[in-house]
Symmetry: C2
Subunit: 339 residues, 2 copies
């Protein structure tokens, strides 16, 4: 209910996803029943695989994260997460308030065994491919171990969902050399080097789109800053281009002749197929679609949710984290009892 | 000597700057005498206002920062900073190794009284204007007080050099609300609010180009990450555009007709007039030109160096920092002596 375009794109995406993806057993649409039923009316769809679950409240984009979870107990966002907690659903998807969604997921589902902090991950386009980046803001004050865990979780996601056989994991820093960075990244570098992750070292901003890595690991503050800076730059250039290309008839004609190029550019920069962000490390599959997500984008996100379930991303994370932490802190032999 | 294009653009810029800016009393070209004299030969310039100072070594872009300063004592970079230290020059400009330049400046010149850490600042273009951002990497592990001092220094620079009467200072964070951020920014927010700076609160990545602030304050790790991410995004879009616009004859024709727009775009994104970055907070005016800087960009940087001297940027910083710290930690009355 709480996305920028309300429930319309969600309902449309659910209908399409049921038709396209047989691996999706059932979709529960959680929200104001009357509105959802009105949007469903007349759609040719398999009602045996879709149900509406009523929730009377809506978390808005302006609501404060933790407060929204605590106060609006009957919101679509809270109820949907509850369904995962209660085992009625295996995954939850929301295009609503990101902070509230992350708070609900963390408070209700808790983290996976061995995981201290979840990380919000998304796929970004690169020059000739794509890469996963996390954390984007679930955890603004990360410790080195968190970054190492993000490497493990990101690698599993890239292998299982993006289909990269041996994902290259880079640590975002301010220089490629090992000794470049801040206290956090210097220590995280050491941990990642000792981890089972295919760690390729530091990656700096200049190289982030150069197809050098499949996963970029960073703390939530930096990740959020970097993601938003990239989006802001792209919007700035788009706005400038629009101003410059419409300044006289000759340029307008040129832009019209080359319009295929601009359309292709738009698709590369905003690919609907990526479908949002995933909150890795919580005990349940939690997908955050963009607030402005189209039905197409939400439909892709539903496919990703289904893939994450069938490919057992969370089971693999728990296992890999356990093995890594065991290696870092091997179980001590029991001390001999002193008589 | 150590810029990507060697001394050529520096010599050219010096010649132009002497002709354009009478406020520049004298320029010392520091480097390998023979090379510099060869580049100067035949140029119509006022040799009374220009001298060549020999330095036998060159710091390369690959040299490690502190090591370069310690080992290559007769490098152009070191010698040029020495001249400021010894009072022979009022400002130093280098297009060479950024890390080595910052290390030389900090080691040889030290910080201004009251300033704990210097901050590297540059001007970035915004939608319809420009803004100053610091720190870009002089100080990767900043404390809240450093960010507050950056606000003071940035405000003075924006007023004196960019000509903004009452610069709006924003703190880079991951949300506009006061309670959004990490431990560092939450505390820095409090300090900036209590400081004499015209502090407008948090600014997030999405709004950085929206002409909402004149100065953005951040720690060196985030600043470096953000700057490089913006540059990488801009390059990514440029590369994609080139690919897309040359894919068929129609698009090529369109691009040719609209070429004025692309030229205007290029100028907005890479304005030569900004000329580089300034290391604020060290005891001397230190300007870092881009390694790839053109003669035009270096010439602008020379004008900025001259402006920073005549408008007494450093004197103003010392005064303002002193007043702010006094307000924060007022001098205690002397304790009564106990007989």
């Amino acid at each position: 209910m709480g996305g920028d375009h309300g429930p319309q794109p969600v309902v449309e995406a659910a209908a399409t996803a049921l038709a396209l993806y047989p691996q999706i057993e059932h979709i529960f649409l959680v929200g104001i029943e009357k509105e959802l039923n009105a949007l469903l009316a007349g759609r040719p769809l398999d009602r045996k695989r879709l149900s509406v679950v009523h929730a009377s409240e809506v978390v808005t984009m302006e609501d404060k994260a933790v407060e929204a979870v605590r106060r609006k107990r009957d919101s679509s966002l809270s109820r949907a997460v509850d369904m995962v907690k209660d085992g009625q659903a295996s995954a939850v998807l929301s295009p609503g308030n990101t902070g509230a969604f992350m708070a609900a997921a963390l408070i209700k589902l808790r983290t996976l065994p061995g995981v201290d902090r979840p990380g919000l991950a998304t796929v970004m386009p690169s020059q000739h491919g794509r890469f996963l980046i996390l954390d984007l803001g679930a955890n603004a004050d990360a410790r080195p171990q968190h970054l190492c865990d993000y490497g493990i979780m990101g690698e599993i996601y890239a292998r299982q969902i993006l289909g990269v056989p041996n994902p290259r994991v880079g640590l975002f820093s301010i220089g490629t050399e090992e000794m470049k960075g801040n206290e956090l990244t210097l220590e995280a570098h050491r941990l990642l080097k000792d981890s089972p992750v295919n760690f390729t070292g530091n990656i700096e901003g200049h190289d982030m789109f150069a197809d050098k890595v499949d996963v970029i690991v960073t703390d939530g503050f930096t990740g959020n800053a970097v993601l938003k800076s990239c989006e802001a730059t792209s919007r700035l250039i788009y706005n400038w281009m629009k101003e410059d290309l419409t300044q006289n008839p000759l340029r307008k004609l040129g832009a019209w002749l080359a319009k295929g190029a601009f359309e292709s550019l738009r698709k590369k920069a905003n690919p609907d197929e990526y479908g949002g962000a995933i909150l890795l490390g919580v005990n349940g599959i939690c997908i955050k679609a963009h607030g402005k997500a189209s039905a197409n984008a939400i439909c892709s996100a539903l496919r990703i949710a289904a893939d994450a379930i069938t490919r057992q991303v969370n089971t693999l994370i728990v296992e890999e984290i356990r093995l890594t932490h065991e290696k870092e802190h091997p179980a001590q032999p029991a001390p001999a009892t002193v008589a």
